[in-house]
């Protein structure tokens, strides 16, 4: 009889794990997927274009219901897991159901970080993480409301441009001196800022939020320099943190995220972690690519294979219509690194490549991300690119022709 496998979480990581299991360990497990959101798993990355009105709700769906059915997966949607009984090897669901497991996978994802300043609880201040968030934001934007987005990272930028495109008058407030400061250098960030600004978003850098004003709902954001930005809607997108409460409650070791080893197992050999909720080799990932890599490793492990996850190369893709940003690996050259820059400010194009000892270790592509996968491959493979050096910035086709 198939071993019961319970997956807590039904996001992109969980979906990919089911898909991988279907390929690597078909029929080996009786799978149950439990998710808090009352709908089919969807592609969270597409929330921004959905917000912008560029795509419809059903375009977000990862897999149709029939797909889940075909895999014999029991789905429990709109049901939170309240506790794990490791001794009994069961999980308790809100509403009373208790499911036994042979193996348990925690793919609980992350939750948005909220501001803790005065007024942060006022209505009209929200995060941007779920379909339901979009439902609240869209109408405001469409009627041309003043909106402040706090956070100039990937999510904040996507929210801001999505809202602006939908009709909102958007100001983006960012603490750092440049946008996407962890993924971009100053020049790349400046070029991105130009492109974002061109899309109708006013950007305020070096700006800390002091508090919010408003009586029964938010009316404005007060910055630490005292300036006030009127706002009918505030979207806080200052990051996410792993959703590890359930694991912590179950007595599993948690630091920033649920600690897992290279097999993605927690200290309990029957409980595994996957996706944004875990901490692996000290690293917490807030991106989908690492989760997909983990899903592949975990599926193999669950299939009885000896598979190991060695961590992921950080690669970021910003997809705001017309403004591509890709960032991977080391983006600020330190000692022993060499830098190649290709820039075309008029076309909004900036490309930076960081090399160490003849190998590509990182790159930034702003404006035009053609070749991103090629560069990622080069970074991952660690191959010597000295011979391609001159052609590297122009993309794969140039390098291939050079090599031929």
């Amino acid at each position: 009889m198939a071993e019961p496998l319970v997956i807590v979480g039904k996001g992109m990581a969980a979906t990919r794990l089911v898909e991988e299991l279907g390929q690597q360990a078909l029929g080996r497990h009786a799978i149950a997927v439990i998710g808090e959101e009352p709908r089919l798993a969807y592609n969270r990355i597409l929330l921004s274009p959905f917000l912008a009105g560029e795509i419809a709700a059903n375009d977000l769906e990862l897999k149709p219901a029939a797909w889940w059915r075909a895999r014999g997966v029991s789905t429990f949607y709109g049901r939170a897991v309240t506790a794990i009984d490791r001794a009994a090897r069961t999980v308790a669901l809100a509403g009373g159901l208790c499911l036994p497991y042979g193996k348990l996978v925690l793919a609980t994802g992350s939750k948005p970080v909220r501001l803790a300043c005065p007024g942060a609880e006022l209505p009209g201040i929200q995060t941007f993480r779920e379909m339901s968030d979009v439902g609240a934001m869209r109408p405001q934007a469409e009627r041309g409301a003043r909106i402040v987005v706090i956070g100039g990272g990937l999510l904040g930028l996507e929210a801001a441009t999505g809202l602006a495109r939908a009709g909102g008058r958007v100001t983006l407030v960012h603490l750092a001196d440049r946008l996407m400061e962890r993924q971009l250098d100053a020049e790349g960030a400046a070029m991105l800022a130009t492109a974002i600004d061109y899309r109708g978003v006013e950007i305020r850098l070096n700006s800390a939020t002091d508090h919010f004003i408003g009586t029964d709902k938010v009316e404005g954001v007060v910055l630490s320099d005292g300036s006030v930005i009127p706002a009918e809607l505030v979207v806080v997108a200052i990051g996410v943190r792993p959703n590890a409460d359930l694991a912590r409650a179950a007595g599993l070791s948690v630091e920033r995220g649920i600690l897992v080893d290279d097999r993605l197992a927690t200290e309990d050999p029957d409980i595994f972690g996957l996706g944004e909720c875990i901490q692996h080799r000290g690293q917490v990932y807030g991106l989908v690519e690492p989760a997909y890599e983990q899903a592949r490793v975990l599926a193999a492990g669950l299939a009885g294979k000896d598979a190991h996850y060695a961590g992921s190369l950080l690669a970021t893709n910003l997809k705001v219509s017309g403004v591509g940003v890709f960032s991977a690996g080391t983006v600020e050259a330190d000692d022993g690194c060499e830098t190649i820059v290709l820039r075309d400010p008029d076309a909004g194009v900036y490309r930076k490549f960081v090399l160490r000892e003849g190998r590509l270790v990182g790159c930034i592509l702003v404006g035009e991300t053609q070749g991103a996968l090629f560069y990622l491959r080069l970074i991952r493979s660690g191959q010597d690119v000295s011979a391609l050096r001159t052609d590297l910035p122009f993309g794969e086709s140039y390098c291939v022709r050079e090599a031929a």
Binding site: E338, L342, A347, T390, F394, Y398
Partner: protein
């Protein structure tokens, strides 16, 4: 008339302004200042064919670089545009002052083989008969002076005995010191046709194995300067094998015995010849046998023979062999000097050289008196004047105080060119008649710049290497205030008080007087007699068909050949053989200067490039000045292909690109003569050339200067393309060339990428700047794109990995083209398709890659390449290269 006024679209028959082949050209003005150019099928020199240079003449008619109004130097050292009256008065006053203070012999004229005969005639007449100075010389001194001297010594006159037709009828053609394939391409094709149709054999004698030697029957790469050893040896061989034409010698030639004895001393047998020339004895014997057994033999030569301190002897040694066998003046045989310039011979005809007086007359009292009577001249020069090199020395030490330079660029072309340029700056009166606004000679700051008519505007006659007088006709109006050279000379003459002798109605009237002088008291005593032209009307002059002189009054159809039956223009009618000096280079190499620097032409450029440098097509074949060096010498002296080398001599230095070439003998260097301070930073090769001259001809030994060579390091090299001039980093090496759409410079520098970036910003700002920056890798590329159009591009890479520019050049060519793909542009790639590669066929702009691709796709011969790509089907000067590319393609295939 405005220079851009439309002209009727009828073709004008004229003559090419480049080499001494003197090809007929059909030029059709396009009404916009340019012209379509085609070979004249009816001209006997070329029968419709043109070489790459001639074909591109239409690209060289632009006005932007022209001097259009008289310019007078002001106190600040700048120039003011002045009217012709002011300019001519200024010149006349200046000459008068110098003559008054220093005598007429303080005045000199330095003329040019690019002048028309009529221009030459009035200049020579003014100097030698009216100012009274014998110091009239010409750039022909660098070109044909040794041939002139030898022909005068041996034949008694400066007479080319044969015709081009002899190249069609010969069974053996010997090319000595001549890269005919590149320098006289149309004649080379005639020779190739003879080979193909009649099986003529070709022997190439040249220390340098050039394109001319590619598929010759016998190649003799002898040691530099040993030509006369080879021909002395040939004379001995002819004598020892009973091949001397005793009867002809008996009746028409003096001095054989002494000459033969001397030849035996120099080169007594083939072993001795082999030892002295460095040739395998078998090759020497094969050559002697072939020459001896082939009555229909043409020996043709160029600068490899002439530009020598023993050039006169070398030419004489060739003439001796033809005389000894009576192989002269008959169809298919004879000595044939291939002249370098379009009208070197016309200049010789009027006497525009320091060692002749006028119309093939010298400085005997009778000749001086005769010319004086004819001209009604008040102040006849009484003795030979200073030849070019000596003239410039006299300028330097101020024996010459006033100099008038016409149509030439001596500050580039003369040996010790830096010293010449410096000397010119010290003249009391320096006048230049010139086409262009800027060149190295103009940089010496003449007091007056007189704007002279250029090819296409001027009207007169030229004489080619086979004594054929052809009309050069105008098909463009004179632009701006430009005037013909003859007019300028005559106007100055009038202001000097010689109105009667210089009031010509036009070039036809000058030609008529020139013709009359040639016939004056001639009675067959002088070879040069064009008496039939003495009464030529304007209409007849305009309609003049190409004709070979002599054209005496009773032989208007001209003369194809001379001397078949003797009739030499010596006192007794006998040719004069004479012993040769011991063959040796003018100066010895030593430990400090162990190499010999040879100089010459590249395929698609002409002289100092003031004309060919305007053509993007012509600039594509050899883009940069390079020193060719044997690979063994390259490694011996630490040189690397495509990097840089400094050539040093006792006179000066130059820095050139390095091109290894197994055709260059070890111990030799070859550098092009074309680049000047206008077109390159450090390639004025004339500055490094010694000024040692032939004692008889005064021609300098330009091909054997002792030299050393060593590497020069630049960290980066690259190119810049710009619509207007663009400043390069301080201390850059550069070569400028014409490209479609603007100017291109290839350069090398030790400056950092940051300084290149700063220059770009200083010139263009940040707007529209597309850049690739690889500081650590030493790479920088930028394109300046304004409103979607490419304004400029600069590419820089570490030395040895210079970026190719063909694709960027192609984009740059159209200033109105929208830049579709900026990455492709900076990548130096065509967005689709491939790099064209270096241009091989300049006529049709076919690149190396296309030719390789065609061979790869199944073409088996240069002819098939012609059918597929048209490459090589016009001038054919790239055919050797195409064959080489084919051979390489097949050897790769086989391997």
């Amino acid at each position: 008339m405005r220079h851009d006024a439309p002209l009727a679209p009828t073709a004008t028959r004229t003559t090419c302004p480049y080499c001494g082949v003197g090809c007929g050209v059909l030029a059709t003005a396009d009404g916009k200042g340019g012209a379509a150019v085609a070979g004249d099928p009816d001209h006997p020199a070329n029968r419709g064919r043109l070489c790459s240079k001639g074909s591109a003449l239409g690209e060289t008619l632009a006005q932007g670089h022209r001097v259009l109004h008289p310019l007078r130097r002001n106190a600040a050292g700048g120039y003011d545009a002045v009217g012709w009256d002011q300019a001519l008065d200024g010149a006349a006053e200046g000459f008068k002052a110098v003559i008054r203070d220093n005598g007429p012999e303080a005045v000199a004229f330095y003329l040019s083989g690019q002048l028309l005969t009529e221009d030459y005639y009035v200049a020579n007449k003014l100097a030698k008969g009216f100012i009274g100075t014998p110091h009239v010389d010409t750039n022909s001194r660098l070109c044909m002076a040794s041939t002139v001297a030898a022909q005068r010594r041996v034949f008694g006159s400066d007479t080319v005995p044969g015709s081009y037709e002899d190249l069609d009828a010969a069974d053996l053609i010997v090319l000595v010191g001549s890269n005919t394939a590149w320098c006289h391409p149309v004649l080379f094709r005639r020779i190739q046709e003879n080979r193909a149709e009649r099986g003529a054999k070709v022997v190439v004698i040249d220390p340098r194995v050039t394109a001319t030697a590619e598929d010759a029957d016998l190649v003799l790469p002898l040691k530099p300067g040993m030509d006369s050893v080879l021909f002395a040896g040939l004379l001995v061989h002819l004598a020892d094998h009973g091949l001397i034409a005793r009867d002809y010698i008996e009746r028409h030639v003096a001095g054989l015995d002494e000459t033969l004895a001397n030849a035996r001393d120099i080169a007594g047998n083939s072993a001795a010849v082999a030892a002295r020339t460095g040739l395998p004895e078998d090759s020497v014997k094969a050559f002697f046998t072939l020459w001896g057994q082939t009555p229909a033999v043409v020996t043709a030569w160029s600068q490899g023979v002439n530009q020598s301190a023993q050039g006169t002897d070398k030419v004489a040694a060739i003439l001796h062999c033809h005389l000894a066998t009576a192989r002269i003046g008959r169809p298919g045989c004879g000595p044939l000097s291939l002249t370098g310039q379009p009208n070197a011979m016309g200049g010789r005809e009027v006497g525009g050289m320091a060692n002749t007086l006028a119309a093939h007359m010298g400085y005997t009292p009778a000749e001086i008196e005769r010319v004086q009577r004819f001209w009604g001249a008040p102040a006849m020069a009484q003795r030979e004047g200073l030849k070019a090199v000596a003239m410039m020395e006299a300028v330097a030490d101020r024996r010459i105080r006033a100099l008038w330079v016409m149509a030439t660029n001596p500050a580039v072309s003369l040996p010790r060119a830096d010293a010449v340029r410096a000397a010119l700056s010290g003249l009391d009166l320096f006048v230049i008649s010139e086409n262009v606004l800027s060149n190295d000679t103009l940089a010496a700051k003449p007091h007056l710049i007189l704007p002279a008519a250029a090819w296409g505007e001027k009207d007169g006659t030229v004489t080619n290497s086979e004594r054929r007088i052809s009309r050069q006709r105008a098909f463009l109006p004179l632009p701006g205030g430009v005037k013909p050279d003859w007019w300028i000379v005559c106007e100055v003459a009038k202001r000097l008080g010689f109105s009667d002798a210089f009031s010509f109605r036009g070039p036809h009237a000058i030609h008529a007087e020139h013709a009359a002088l040639s016939a004056f008291e001639n009675e067959g005593t002088r070879d040069f007699d064009i008496g039939a032209h003495a009464g030529l009307s304007l209409a007849a002059y305009d309609a003049l068909a190409p004709v070979q002189w002599p054209v005496p009054w009773d032989r208007p159809q001209g003369t194809a050949r001379l001397f078949a039956d003797g009739g030499f223009f010596t006192g007794d009618g006998r040719a004069q053989m004479q012993a040769l000096a011991e063959p040796a280079p003018a100066s010895a190499t030593d430990a400090r200067f162990p190499l010999r620097l040879n100089t010459g032409r590249v395929r698609d450029h002409w002289h100092t490039m003031t004309r060919t440098g305007l053509s993007p097509r012509l600039s594509a074949h050899t883009a940069e000045p390079a020193v060719s060096v044997h690979p063994a010498d390259a490694s011996r002296y630490g040189l690397v292909e495509a990097k840089f080398a400094r050539i040093e001599t006792r006179e000066g230095q130059a820095i050139l690109k390095v091109a290894t070439d197994t055709g260059i003998p070890e111990g030799s260097l070859f550098a092009p003569i074309h680049w000047s301070a206008e077109t390159a930073s450090d390639a004025r090769i004339g500055a490094a050339v010694q000024a040692l001259v032939d004692p008889c001809s005064g021609q300098p030994e330009l091909k054997a200067t002792p030299a050393s060579i060593g590497p020069v390091t630049f960290t980066s090299q690259g190119f810049v393309l710009s619509r207007d001039a663009f400043p390069l980093p301080e201390g850059s090496w550069w070569a400028r060339l014409a490209v479609e759409g603007g100017e291109g410079r290839l350069f090398a520098t030790n400056e950092t990428i940051a300084s290149a970036m700063a220059l770009v910003r200083a010139r263009f700002g940040e707007e529209g700047l597309v850049e690739l920056i690889d500081r650590e890798g030493g790479g920088y590329r930028c394109a300046v794109v304004h409103q979607g159009r490419l304004l400029a591009a600069l590419f820089l890479a570490p030395t040895g990995r210079a970026p190719l520019w063909d694709t960027v050049k192609a984009v740059f060519a159209d200033p109105t083209a929208e830049i579709g793909h900026r990455f492709a542009l900076l990548a130096g790639r065509a967005a689709s398709g491939t790099e064209p590669g270096p241009t091989i066929c300049a006529c049709f702009g076919v690149g190396l890659h296309a030719i390789r691709a065609a061979f790869a796709a199944g073409a088996t011969s240069a002819e098939e390449i012609g059918l597929r790509l048209k490459a090589g089907t016009n001038c054919g000067s790239c055919l050797p290269e195409i064959r080489r590319i084919g051979a390489r393609a097949f050897s790769t295939e086989a391997a």
